[in-house]
Amino acid sequence: MTSPTRAVHAEGLTKRYGGKTALDSFDLTVPAGTVHGLLGPNGAGKTTAVRILATLLRFDAGRAEIAGVDLRRDAPGVRRRIGLVGQFAAVDEILSARQNLFLFGRLYHLSRPAARNRAAELLERFALTEAADRPVGRFSGGMRRRLDMACSLILAPRVLFLDEPTTGLDPRGRGEVWDCVRDLVAGGTSVLLTTQYLDEADQLADRISVLDEGKVVAEGTPGELKAKLGGDRLDVTVHDAAALDRTAAIMARVTGGEPQRHDDGRTVSVPVIDRVSALTEVVRELDAEGVTVEDLALRRPTLDEVFLHLTR
């Protein structure tokens, strides 16, 4: 069997709920072996896109192929090639981790011994062997998530869908899930991941689509998206919050960009094109006005800034 070069390919996917368009001519190509991030604010249509691609939701227009299999023509074929990890851990909380894996293995139509072996293998791989026979109801959020992923990987799917896999997890749990995703990709699985956390997309995704109100508003590598925002940014942190307005005005005048205030109340940042001359000019003007500067930094924009810029 030749493996398809495109894990996911969607053209013009459209989904309407009554009069509301939840997904509007959605295009997506995920090359095999890569991670694609779907990023967007609440209600952007991320879950809708994933549920359609995982055969859970019918769509009104467009077409899609998963691992070379057409979504409309062969939904069972798609189901054999995908794993889905939804927003909540979809495992049986009364049963043990081992029983869950055996149950789902049987439902994937593995023979009893194969299901048993596969369960042991996955428990080992997701570091759950020690807790394997305890009821899942007593698992931590991170462990439950890992079991959830393990259950989605029983048939070693070509494509794994992860809908907000780390929502509600503490930093340690998030790290565990990230490690799992990296391992999977190293083993050749393709991943489509939705998230509201920009650092997550930055950490994991090879490419990112930014969704807003059902439309893809930007697509590219994290680096490309950051570059879209007009290069570097200059941050100025003042000693005295009262000087913030004057500082913002100076920065706007010098660079011609729109200054943004940070939540800390003492930092202003502005996009800059000519880095060095902007920096020297701003410093000179601030000095002339007698503003005491505490910190000064030239940096690349964060994905947060890209995101806010694109979905405003």
Binding site: L56, L84, V91, E121
Partner: protein
């Protein structure tokens, strides 16, 4: 990958039938594993109808008399059996709602397994559990002096009619579970089941109720099954002049049929609507 991850082929009609059966059985064993994991909950479930019987038989209904001088507790066992079958709707509904809310139903739907098995597995397990509660209550009845008087075939027919009511409740439960989709909201439905169970001939004679309530109670499907079981067990009943009171066995066969005919298609439609 070290293990054989090649699932057996699952296309073509023979395979589909085969997987519908094995998948349903796999899901049935999921429920039986629940019982083994939670023996306490299982025991409470079995004791619940027994508690009702003891409460009404010895505490509340001590001096209720049955027309013709029959023993109240003799009439109570078939009534409580029918009520237990009706309360089964809660088991089905809660399990269905929990799976749907937690995304387990979606996981099933995203897998290459048989779609009908999701409900058929539930059906087999729920019927099996209800059969166990029937046995538990029958044993309790035998210990307290209750028995059947019209021979084994009639007695078995009564048990079949009881499970037939439970089968109908299954479809109401599946439908409600898919409509409600939240385990919190199931609690309010559970409370509503009580008046429906009490508005029947299970604990009191409909003749003793205000006329319009009595008429509702006589036509209640639970009453039909309770009265039919009393007749088939040869236990005393309330009697009555209505058509419903005169034809309990026929009604106990028809009611579940009607309920199934309505709620089975509704459940299937609801299940399909998950992908809307």
């Amino acid at each position: 990958m070290s293990t054989l991850l090649q699932p057996t082929p699952d296309t073509g009609v023979p395979y589909r039938v085969r997987w519908a059966i094995t998948d349903a059985w796999t899901l049935t064993t999921r429920e039986t594993s629940h019982w083994l994991r939670q023996p306490f909950e299982m025991a409470v479930g079995l004791l619940f109808p027994i508690m009702f019987f003891l409460m009404f038989g010895y505490l509340i209904g001590g001096d209720i008399s049955v027309p013709g001088g029959g023993d109240y507790r003799e009439a109570l066992i078939p009534g409580t059996l029918a009520m237990t079958m009706m309360f089964g709707v809660e088991t089905t509904m809660t399990a269905m709602a929990a799976d749907t809310q937690k995304g387990v139903t979606d996981r099933f739907r995203s897998m290459p397994m048989s779609a009908s098995a999701v409900v058929m597995g539930r059906a087999t397990a729920d019927l099996f559990q209800s059969a166990l509660s029937l046995v538990a209550l029958v044993l309790c009845g035998l210990l307290t002096g209750w028995t059947w008087h019209d021979g084994l075939p009639s007695m078995l027919l009564a048990l079949v009619l009881l499970l037939w009511l439970r089968f109908a409740m299954l479809w109401i439960g599946v439908w409600l579970g898919l409509v409600i989709r939240s385990t919190q909201a199931t609690a309010s439905v559970q409370i509503l089941v009580y008046p429906l169970a009490f508005l029947s001939n299970v604990f009191a004679s409909p003749e003793s109720m205000p006329a319009w309530l009595g008429a509702l109670a006589e036509w209640n499907p639970v009453s039909a099954t309770a009265a039919a079981s009393r007749e088939l067990f040869g236990n005393p009943g309330w009697g009555g002049d209505s058509w419903a009171a005169a034809h309990p066995v026929l009604l106990a066969a028809l009611w579940p049929l009607v309920i199934t005919a309505v709620f089975l298609p509704l459940s299937v439609r609801r299940y399909r609507r998950l992908s809307r």
